[in-house]
Each structure stands twice: as structure tokens, then as C-alpha cells.
């Protein structure tokens, strides 16, 4: 069970409200969220379920280093924050 929050830049592409979602790892939480909001999945994961290169995920405000398996553990009341690289200057 964790709270998942998407950066507001992603909200522009499709509806992705903050939710409490079941799951014990980052990938489980994401997949459970995407089952309810499928449109956001392709912005976050590639077709092999790896984190897209321009995306970052933080659990409790710590950026996770495993971008491939996304198996970082998620505990009750944790917060998963999904954000995007910005390049504008």
C-alpha cells in the first residue's frame, strides 16, 4: 500500500490523480495503478516495463537506482513520486 503521485507535467498528457495503491514493490504499485489508469503507463514505462530514460521515481523522496526491475520495496504509508526530466532553459 503506497501513495503514488505524478508530477503535474504528466497530468497534461492524461489524467493521473494521486492514489493509494496496493503493492510491495515499485513495479507492483505502478502496475496496480496502471490497471485503473492505463493511459499513463506508456509515458512511464517502455514496452519491456523498464523505466523510460527521461523519467525518475522516488520513494519517500529518495530516487531509486534500479531503473530496470523496479523491485525496490514499498512499505505501508510510503510515497512513490514519478517525475520527468526537464530540459528547458
Amino acid at each position: 500500500m503506497a501513495k503514488i503521485i505524478f508530477t503535474s507535467n504528466l497530468e497534461r498528457h492524461c489524467h493521473c490523480p494521486t492514489k493509494i495503491v496496493v503493492g510491495n514493490t515499485v513495479i507492483e504499485v505502478l502496475k496496480n495503478y496502471f490497471s485503473e489508469y492505463p493511459a499513463i503507463q506508456s509515458y512511464v514505462l517502455d514496452d519491456q516495463d523498464k523505466l523510460r530514460k527521461n523519467m525518475l521515481i522516488a520513494v519517500n523522496n529518495e530516487i531509486i537506482s534500479d531503473r530496470v526491475t523496479l523491485l525496490d520495496p514499498v512499505k505501508e504509508n510510503d510515497e512513490v513520486f514519478v517525475l520527468q526530466a526537464l530540459s528547458g532553459g
Binding site: 530514460k53 522516488a58 523522496n61 529518495e62 526530466a85 526537464l86 528547458g88 532553459g89
Partner: protein, 248 residues
């Protein structure tokens, strides 16, 4: 420093953390700013007014009327001029003591490396990933601190990459080299003061690193969202598999 300079920088020198010694470090420093647009405006203006000894500005654009909403070191009379020329006039007007060196073209990798080598600090203010990854690689190779800011719409991101220190993460520990479509402020818009906020923070970090005071943002990524006026700071670790900094 003579009396005129002591007066000019007195509000810095009054700060016990900075003091005369810190100000002297600033006047002996050289900052390299890549870009002369939105973020570069507050960066360059604050570094110049603060008395950084030499500022090198690299940009190949001309000032356009659509720049003026946020690129506040250029004015109406500068439309059509090279941005670096317009910037030099503004910065020299703020503080004639700071030497402004302008490069009005895109630098090839070798030339960029030479400029990084000469600088004490590097500030990334461009609007593309390619430049950000290249500059990071050169800063890691040359062991120079890099202060990176980016903005779009109502959001900004900021971090300091202490590529001069072995245990500090680099830009590529954060983002993998990406083919992702770039979103530029010219195409997507940006709220003008958001650029000012992030640029001013880049300047703040630069002055701190140059003077050797406080705690910089190494290992942290700051995010700002102006729509809900929220800040968030994320912790960032050095990636042991980073292709750029893991071997250093």
C-alpha cells in the same frame, strides 16, 4: 580590494560566512555560463553584480521579441543583436569590475573542454539534453563543479553536481542519456518568474561553491512547482554503474 570595491561589496562582506576572504575568492573566480537566455539572465546578472572576476558567456542566438518576457538581461533595443553582446552590455552596466568574455557560436567539444578547464564553476542554462549530457561528461572528466537548472511551464529543477569531488553523483547518475523529445520553453511556454527563481538559485549555489560556504545541493535534486507553490527535494545517490562518473 580598494575602498570603492569594499563599498561595492560591503553587503557581502558584512556576512560573517562570506566576509572579506569569501568576497576575494569571488573576485578571483571565473564562471562559464552555457546559454544567454532565460536562466542565464539571473545567473549572469547576479554573478556579475556579486563581483565574480570573469564571466564567460557562450551562446549563438540573436535576441527576439518573444525572448523578452523572461530573458531579462536583454531589452527592446537589443532585438536582432547577438545575445552575448546584449548581455555583455547589461552585465558591464551592472558591474564594470567583472570581465565579461563572450563567445558567439556553438562550441565544438574540444573548445568547450578548454573553456571548462579554465573555469572554476560551470552553469548549464541551455534548452536541450544533448548539451546537458556533453557538458556533464566534460565536467566529470575535468573535475569541475556543474550547476544545472531547467524549467518548463510552471516547473523547475535544480541540482549541483560536484564533479570535482569523487563521491558526488553526476547529471548522468540522475538521467540516462535519452532520445526523449525535448520540451523547450519557446514551444511549450514558461511562466517568466519561474525562470528567475531557478536561475537565481543557480547563482546562489555558484557563489556558495566558489566561496566554499554552506551546504550545496550535491546529492539532492530540488523541484519547484509554481502552480501549487510547492518545493520538493529528492535525495540522489551516485550510481555505481554510471558510465560517466563511476570510473573516476
Amino acid at each position: 580590494m580598494d575602498n570603492a570595491l569594499l563599498t561595492r561589496y560591503s553587503r557581502h562582506i558584512l556576512l560573517p560566512e562570506l566576509d572579506y576572504a569569501g568576497q576575494l575568492k569571488l573576485t578571483k573566480s571565473r564562471a562559464l555560463i552555457i546559454g544567454a537566455g532565460g536562466l542565464a539572465s539571473p545567473v549572469a546578472m547576479y554573478l556579475a553584480s556579486s563581483g565574480v572576476g570573469q564571466i564567460v558567456l557562450v551562446d549563438f542566438d540573436k535576441v527576439e521579441v518573444s525572448n523578452l518576457q523572461r530573458q531579462i538581461m536583454h531589452g527592446n533595443a537589443d532585438i536582432g543583436r547577438a545575445k552575448v553582446d546584449s548581455a555583455k552590455e547589461t552585465l558591464s552596466g551592472l558591474n564594470p569590475e567583472t570581465e565579461i568574455i563572450t563567445i558567439n557560436r556553438r562550441l565544438a567539444e574540444g573548445e568547450l573542454r578548454e573553456q571548462v578547464k579554465l573555469a572554476n564553476i560551470i552553469l548549464e542554462t541551455t534548452d536541450n539534453f544533448e548539451s546537458r549530457f556533453l557538458l556533464n561528461r566534460i565536467c566529470v572528466e575535468q573535475r569541475k563543479p556543474l550547476i544545472s537548472g531547467s524549467v518548463i511551464r510552471f516547473e523547475g529543477q535544480l541540482s549541483t553536481f560536484r564533479c570535482d569531488l569523487t563521491d558526488s553523483p553526476c547529471y548522468q547518475c540522475l538521467y540516462t542519456e535519452t532520445e526523449a523529445l525535448e520540451e523547450t520553453c519557446s514551444q511549450n511556454g514558461v511562466l517568466a518568474p519561474v525562470v528567475g527563481i531557478i536561475g537565481s538559485l543557480q547563482a546562489t549555489e555558484a557563489l556558495k561553491v566558489l566561496a566554499g560556504i554552506g551546504t550545496d545541493l550535491a546529492g539532492r535534486l530540488m523541484l519547484f512547482n509554481a502552480l501549487n507553490m510547492e518545493w520538493r527535494t529528492l535525495k540522489l545517490k551516485k550510481d555505481p554503474d554510471c558510465p560517466i562518473c563511476s570510473a573516476t
